[in-house]
């Protein structure tokens, strides 16, 4: 009987993080990019972009360019606005990058018995369902939120130098 044992120190295929690295975030990013690119600019987005434009041409934020969000919101939407090509394309790219980032982090954080397709489905569903939550115009906004949520996870992980994987923790 031909029984093969793994070499000492080798990893089982399901635990090889490299296997997960590109397919999952790639699919999520592509779906995010395509879907976000197809949706027209929403009312709030247009307003934030207009405020960013006013500031770019010399208005003072909160004084002569009046709205109540944080400066970061106008920086983000101002940056998307000045990029060459359609605003929606860059918005889609942003959502794609966000989903890819979250996909990578989710794969690291979650145990191996949560399959890739479930994470991918969660990401895509979360992105698309935001249109059901808050009118069809807010997908990009949801993408921005996903970016911030992802940033929280990344910062949390980076700040502590965590390498989260099953078994590397304190163990229960």
């Amino acid at each position: 009987m031909n029984t093969r044992r793994p070499l000492p120190g080798s990893m089982s295929p399901s635990r090889d993080p490299a296997q997960h690295s590109f397919v999952l975030p790639g699919v999520a990013a592509l779906l995010g990019l395509v879907s976000a690119s197809l949706i027209r600019v929403g009312h709030d987005e247009a307003y934030w972009t207009a405020i960013a434009g006013m500031v770019r041409y010399g208005a003072d934020l909160y004084d002569t360019a009046i709205d109540n969000r944080s400066p970061l919101v106008y920086v983000v939407f101002g940056a998307l606005d000045v990029m060459p090509g359609p605003f929606t394309w860059w918005r889609g790219a942003t959502v794609g990058v966000v989903l890819a980032t979250i996909g990578l982090q989710a794969r690291r954080v979650l145990p191996d018995d949560v399959p890739d397709w479930i994470i991918c489905a969660a990401l895509v569903t979360a992105g698309l369902s935001s249109t059901l939550y808050l009118t069809i115009e807010l997908l990009a906004l949801a993408g921005l939120m996903l970016a911030l949520a992802s940033a929280a996870c990344v910062a949390a992980v980076a700040a502590a130098g965590l390498r989260i994987s099953a078994g590397s923790d304190g163990g229960e």
């Binding site: 979650l110 018995d113 949560v114 969660a122 979360a126 808050l134 921005l144 911030l148 929280a152 923790d169």
Partner: protein, 410 residues
């Protein structure tokens, strides 16, 4: 060596706290409301904080016009106090922001404050409005700190630190903590912070600290005293020790005493309710719903439902029974207090909790008290297999997206 664990294998308190609170604070600040337009409740707290910080008094003589019956609650919640116009709310939240206003008063603008929706249109009133940035900073910081303390409490229930950290991040991003409490200087953020500190202190048997924190929570949102009573009494009875009841009771008594003293000084009568209108029954009559229906709508209505907009909570209810059985007494005591607080809140208050925000806000303090039990329930739920894990993951992602979007557009 795990960076969040010390040589003894136990979580390093400040690291676990910081790894949750700091990123959340950055996110909250990025999405908070920094200027007008502002919700009526946090605007009232912000103006009161400015007045306390710069003049040393909660009295708001410039806002006398808003005490007229037709204006009350339409722009800010100012009522007639013993010595003049004053916020109807307890002083806890403004007191936290007052030092920031005292240090960085910022520009005071003269604004034509318009009245919000109501039966009749009303003319705008010209009043001074301070910078609202200090309020955004305090509202977001207190909510982030609350989640940091919750992470510490969770860490006492679990052998790992990853689970508690992730759970606290989901609690901070997938609930009204983000879309409401961190968005402005509501009472919710400060009250959640004091409650979370009190619960963590109870978990580590620091009973006096727990009591004092519960008292500060009551000074911010008086009904929070219910959780203090539950924790002090249930832990004392269950463990047959007098100390938890005495320390929590006396500690909480400090904050409650300060609240009564404030109400005696400002409103002329030593009550817990202060400037609140106590005509609770009228709300239900006006809206034509019963109290049981009110509770059901609070849980599952499409616009305000807790279990709709934080759907991961509905999923982890699957593990609530085993969680109750295996939880230590402080978890069960806090959860009992949270459940009582939830019941009283919706028995007294119409589930919509006013307008000008999305999803839910009334149950936020109760959710903090219930959070340790929910954490154990989440662990029990995800142990049921990869499908349960996937469902919790998906529901958490949906909740985070929803509350993130809501935090930006309100």
């Amino acid at each position: 060596m795990h960076p969040l664990l010390g040589p003894d294998g136990l979580p390093i308190t400040w690291r676990v706290f910081a790894v949750v609170a700091f990123p959340l604070w950055v996110i909250y600040l990025a999405t908070a409301a920094w200027t007008l337009p502002y919700n009526v409740d946090p605007l009232t707290n912000a103006i009161t904080a400015w007045s306390i910080g710069t003049r040393g008094s909660p009295l708001l003589p410039e806002y006398e016009a808003f005490t007229r019956p037709e204006y009350v609650g339409r722009s800010i919640w100012v009522v007639d106090g013993l010595d003049g116009p004053v916020s109807k709310f307890p002083p806890g939240a403004p007191l936290l922001a007052a030092p920031l206003y005292a240090t960085f008063a910022g520009d005071v603008e003269t604004v034509d404050l318009t009245a919000g929706p109501g039966d009749t249109p009303l003319p705008a009133v010209t009043v001074p409005v301070p910078s609202l940035a200090p309020s955004a900073i305090v509202g977001s910081a207190t909510t982030a700190v609350a989640m940091g303390f919750l992470a510490l409490a969770f860490a006492r229930l679990h052998g790992t630190v990853t689970g508690p950290v992730l759970a606290a991040l989901v609690a901070g991003l997938g609930t009204g903590a983000w879309s409401v409490a961190a968005n402005a200087l509501w009472q919710h953020g400060p009250a959640m912070m004091w409650l979370a500190l009190a619960i963590w202190a109870a978990a580590s048997e620091r009973w006096w600290l727990s009591g004092l924190s519960f008292g500060m929570a009551a000074l911010t949102r008086p009904l929070a005293a219910v959780v203090a009573a539950a924790v002090g009494l249930i832990v004392a009875v269950s463990t047959r020790r007098l100390r938890p009841a005495v320390a929590v009771g006396c500690g909480a008594g400090v904050g409650i005493g300060l609240l009564v003293l404030y109400n005696r000084t400002v409103f002329g009568s030593p009550t817990l309710t202060g400037g609140y209108d106590l005509a609770f029954e009228q709300w239900f009559v006006d809206e034509g719903i019963g109290r049981v229906e009110n509770v059901v709508l609070a849980l599952v209505s499409p616009d305000r439902g807790i279990l709709v907009w934080s759907s991961f909570l509905a999923l982890i209810l699957v593990g609530i029974t085993p969680a109750w059985r295996r939880s230590p007494v402080w978890v069960r005591a806090a959860a009992s207090g949270g459940l009582a607080l939830l019941g009283i809140t919706y028995w007294l208050g119409y589930y919509r909790g006013g307008g000008g925000y999305l999803f839910y806000r009334y149950p936020l303090e109760a959710l903090v008290a219930l959070a340790p039990l929910f954490f154990v329930a989440a662990v029990e739920t995800v142990r049921r297999g990869s499908l349960a894990r996937a469902a919790v993951l998906l529901a958490s992602a949906l909740s985070i997206v929803a509350h993130g979007a809501a935090s930006l557009i309100t």
